[in-house]
């Protein structure tokens, strides 16, 4: 069997490709059993989007243009959310080099969410019941979180694990692009690219070296694993 080296999963968001269509949000929600919360709760900032598109406006009419920036958990290498958790529900994974949310360990202090500069974390304020038979579509690979638990984007770690197991069973290394989180898979504009940053030849590594690269709130030193590629052109991305 091939010698496995730990991967360092990363994501590149090409803002020049991103159209802000939000397909990623739905893909993510249905892959990860993210509940919908209804109008009043969304209005009060309690939607459980693991990924959301930040839309700002630039310029004045008629030169006004929106900028779209999908923001998900940045899977920081030095994650502010991790050390503050008293019960190790937010930990760094050695194998994937991402930030794991251990739902069944979470006691709901919400400290991690306060300390996340990207607001990537969302909280289960209630139990969000699905009427029958809607529970049938829940993804059995992902825990359904109950009330009082923090959750967030995991880079679809269940897909990473599944891919790794498959590769291991077939005695080979994972191919570049074989594992894709749901958002990446759905993204119609192919603005999202996912892969192993520790492999310099992977597509994500190549893109992450682009001159257009930047990280969100880089000055905080969180070492995000998500790289953004600046939009170019008249109005930027």
């Amino acid at each position: 069997m091939a010698e496995e080296r730990p991967a360092k999963w990363g994501l590149v968001v090409d803002l020049d490709r991103c159209t802000g269509c939000n397909a990623c949000i739905v893909a993510c929600a249905l892959e990860n059993n993210v509940p919908f919360v209804g109008e009043d709760e969304v209005a009060y900032g309690r939607a459980l989007y693991w990924i959301r598109t930040q839309r700002y406006w630039e310029g004045e009419y008629p030169e006004v243009t929106p900028t779209f920036q999908p923001v998900m958990c940045q899977q920081c290498g030095n994650a502010p959310c991790e050390p503050v958790c008293p019960v190790y529900a937010s930990v760094h994974s050695e194998e994937e080099q991402i930030n794991l949310a251990v739902y069944n360990r979470c006691v709901g202090t919400r400290y991690c969410a306060n300390n996340c500069p990207y607001f990537a974390r969302v909280f289960n304020w209630f139990d969000y019941e699905l009427p029958e038979p809607m529970r049938s579509y829940l993804n059995p690979d992902v825990t359904v979180r109950r009330r009082g638990v923090m959750e967030k984007c995991t880079f679809c770690v269940q897909r990473i694990v599944r891919g790794r197991q498959k590769a291991r069973a077939e005695g080979r290394e994972l191919r570049d692009g074989e594992v894709q989180p749901a958002c990446v898979q759905a993204c119609p504009a192919e603005a999202l690219v996912f892969g192993d940053l520790s492999d310099p030849e992977s597509r994500v590594s190549q893109l992450a070296r682009s001159q257009r690269r930047y990280h969100l709130l880089e000055a905080l030193g969180t070492l995000p694993r998500v790289t953004y590629l600046k939009g170019v052109g008249n109005h930027g991305g």
Binding site: N78, A79, E82, P83, C85, Y88, V91, E94, L223
Partner: protein
């Protein structure tokens, strides 16, 4: 020497000088310091009453507790991360700065709890000296408990009464604590 009987000489709180004098007299009358004990409603230092220094191990018990707390803290902050190593952020498994907080708290906890335990243990431990009590003590009276051989009883009583003491005989101690 016959059975020693415990007597209590009560002085008003304002008569502290008399009480100190009474202790001196008792000693002169051959009652040893072991057979005297003073009970009072407020603390008087030994110097005031001219009594030998009492001693207590509370300080040492407290120190021992602090050491235990310190060791527990060392285990918790440096030992437990090794039992189940979990990486968080870019922190080492056993960072010293954060451990100092834990060590401080647990050392203090050990110190303070064991000090209390020390007080408690010493309180319920058997003690030497005459035992006896009178509710007037908590009204501020100073009580001198002494046990003396029967033969000197009369002279002691006379001496003490001369100093203004009220003598209470047979201060059988009600069970003050279960």
């Amino acid at each position: 020497m016959g059975a020693n009987v415990v007597h209590l000489a009560l002085f008003k709180e304002t008569e502290i000088d008399h009480a100190a004098e009474a202790i001196a007299r008792l000693r002169e009358l051959g009652v040893s310091d072991h057979d005297i004990s003073v009970i009072s409603g407020i603390p008087y230092s030994e110097r005031i009453l001219g009594r030998p220094m009492t001693w207590t191990t509370i300080g040492r018990i407290g120190l021992a507790g602090a050491v235990v707390g310190f060791l527990v803290a060392i285990f918790l902050s440096f030992g437990t991360p090794l039992l189940y190593p979990i990486r968080v952020a870019a922190m080492p498994f056993q960072p010293i700065p954060t451990s100092i907080v834990v060590i401080f708290e647990l050392t203090m906890l050990g110190l303070l709890i064991s000090t209390f335990i020390g007080v408690f243990v010493e309180t319920i431990s058997p003690s030497f000296g005459p035992r006896g009590y009178h509710p007037k003590i908590s009204d501020g009276h100073i009580g001198i408990l002494f046990s003396s051989p029967a033969q000197v009883e009369e002279s002691i009583h006379a001496t003490l009464q001369a100093l203004g003491a009220e003598i209470v005989h047979n201060v059988e101690e009600e069970r003050l604590w279960p």
